[in-house]
């Protein structure tokens, strides 16, 4: 068949669009829109969720995510430094930790830690927020460690040499010169990490909690059971998007701003991209 390359591309494109239209139209025609609308768009149920869905659930989601992220960041930094350490035992320990926790489902880790801590330290009656912080933090730290390590390695060697030549110890050079620049480089992937953790914070619902401690997903599920309407799912979902979409834009903005000048940050981003893929 004699068809120019460009013409063939155009024909393929038209066929693709046609298939897409047929599929979408097929769904639209066969789905029961009335029942969907009743289930998902019940305004009474929706308005009944306010203001608690914001003042309690959304706030708790933010708190849990923030606690987990902060803890994960600290542990991740320590792990990254261990991975880059000259002491073999540190490198191995960090490597084992990272492989271990990256290889397990987040839910399993959260269950194990959330219920394991009270068993391991009986009587200490750990605050629930602390358990959540540790559980989510451990899940996040294993990923962040690799991101931070890539960021540290992306800082040009000359920066350390300049710092050392001024008399800074290797620890000071790391703290004052390398780490600040590393974090600047990995800001976009860290923002993505924050998005992932925002969603993963929903998993703490399996740890059980009192009503005032509900985060978005548990709040939505409870309302769902009470109202027998799917509207709470929609409302809770919207609340997540209020958090995650701006973060996603922020991440892309940061990437554009740093991406042009810092070729080496591609390394950091790449690792996180494969991680993102892996978690999906």
């Amino acid at each position: 068949m004699a068809m120019s390359k460009r013409k063939r591309t155009r024909v393929i494109r038209v066929v693709q669009y046609a298939v897409l239209v047929v599929v979408v139209a097929g769904f639209a025609a066969t789905a029961d829109w009335g029942r969907l609308a009743d289930a998902f768009f019940d305004l009474d149920v929706a308005s009944g969720m306010f203001p608690d869905v914001i003042t309690v659930a959304l706030v708790n989601t933010l708190i849990y995510t923030g606690l987990g992220f902060g803890f994960g960041l600290v542990v991740g930094l320590v792990l990254a430094l261990m991975r880059l350490s000259g002491v073999p035992a540190y490198r191995w320990l960090a490597g084992i930790y990272i492989e271990f926790f990256r290889g397990l489902p987040a839910l399993l880790v959260i269950l194990a830690i959330g219920s394991g801590i009270p068993l391991a330290f009986p009587g200490t009656n750990l605050d629930r927020y602390v358990s959540i912080m540790i559980a989510l933090g451990i899940v996040a730290s294993a990923y962040m460690a690799e991101t931070i390590r890539a960021g540290i390695q992306a800082v040009p060697k000359g920066q350390v040499e300049a710092a050392r030549s001024l008399g800074m110890s290797s620890g000071r050079a790391m703290l004052w010169i390398v780490v600040p620049q590393a974090f600047k480089i990995i800001l976009p992937p860290l923002t993505n990490e924050l998005i992932l953790l925002t969603k993963d914070s929903s998993l703490v619902l399996f740890l059980g909690s009192s009503q005032l401690q509900y985060e978005l997903t548990q709040f939505g599920r409870t309302e769902l059971n009470q109202s027998r309407s799917l509207t709470p799912v929609l409302v809770a979902g919207m609340c997540y998007l209020i958090i995650t979409i701006p973060l996603s834009y922020l991440s892309r903005y940061l990437e554009r701003r740093t991406g042009g000048t810092r070729i080496r940050s591609a390394e950091a981003t790449e690792i996180v991209d494969t991680e993102l893929e892996a978690t999906k």
Partner: protein, 251 residues
């Protein structure tokens, strides 16, 4: 004779099975300016980096003001405070303003207060003619300005000796002059300087002594007029013929 500012004896360094420095003996007297010239790969940078232990020598000793830096009991961070180093690629701290580039080591290493550190920094910025750039970020400066800031940063630590590794090689030709001028002033003030450079004119006019290195050894050394003007060794002549422009070669 009093102890030289820098005394290098029997220095050897290899990377894997590549012998980069094969027994170097060099002394630099206090206040002396010594320029090191030589072809690419001859070990000039490695020699300089051994002086402040950025590279660890395999054999031999490096004394700076009488202290053997290769001795295992030496506090190397303390020793490096007194040895300023200027790199070919400037290596300014990219996340800090010019002023903070000059103050961070003063404050974190020397323990100077903010006020004193700022004062010292501004004095040194003025010295290199960049006082008005105190609040700029390094990326906003030209290469020549960055290198002058790097010199001011090293000077802010009140070093006793200064090491320069091809400080003008990464610069556009029209920016070289400003940096060399700063170095010339520093030399006139009596700073002890060990300078790796390809700027023959600078070496001629400013250096007290020129070393020609090739293949990890010092082939020839002496006053600039002798080493650059009337080299005795064939290798030096070949090198100079390649580096110098025709006008100089006629002399």
């Amino acid at each position: 004779m009093s102890e030289p500012a820098i005394r290098i004896t029997g220095l050897r360094k290899c990377f894997g099975d590549l012998d980069v420095l094969c027994g170097i003996d060099v002394s630099v007297a206090a206040g002396e300016v010594v320029c090191v010239i030589g072809p690419s790969g001859s070990g000039k940078s490695t020699l300089l980096r051994c002086v402040n232990m950025l590279e660890e020598p395999d054999q031999g000793s490096v004394f700076v003001n009488g202290v053997d830096l290769t001795h295992e009991d030496v506090d190397i961070d303390a020793a490096r405070r007194r040895i300023g180093m200027v790199f070919q690629s400037f290596n300014l701290f990219a996340h800090l303003t010019v002023l903070n580039n000059l103050t961070i080591a003063q404050r974190k290493v020397l323990g100077r207060g903010k006020e004193e550190a700022n004062k010292v920094a501004l004095e040194n910025l003025a010295r290199v003619g960049l006082a008005e750039k105190a609040n700029a970020m390094p990326a906003q400066l030209s290469g020549g300005q960055q290198q002058r800031v790097a010199i001011a940063r090293a000077l802010s630590m009140d070093p006793e000796v200064m090491l320069f590794d091809e400080p003008t090689s990464a610069l556009d030709p029209e920016l070289v002059g400003d940096v060399l001028e700063v170095m010339r002033l520093l030399a006139e003030e009596g700073m002890t300087m060990l300078v790796v450079t390809h700027e023959m004119q600078f070496a001629r006019e400013v250096a007290d002594r020129v070393l020609f290195m090739d293949g990890g050894v010092v082939v020839e050394q002496g006053p600039p007029a002798q080493v650059i003007g009337a080299p005795r060794h064939e290798r030096t002549r070949t090198f100079l013929a390649r580096v110098l422009d025709p006008i100089h070669r006629v002399e």
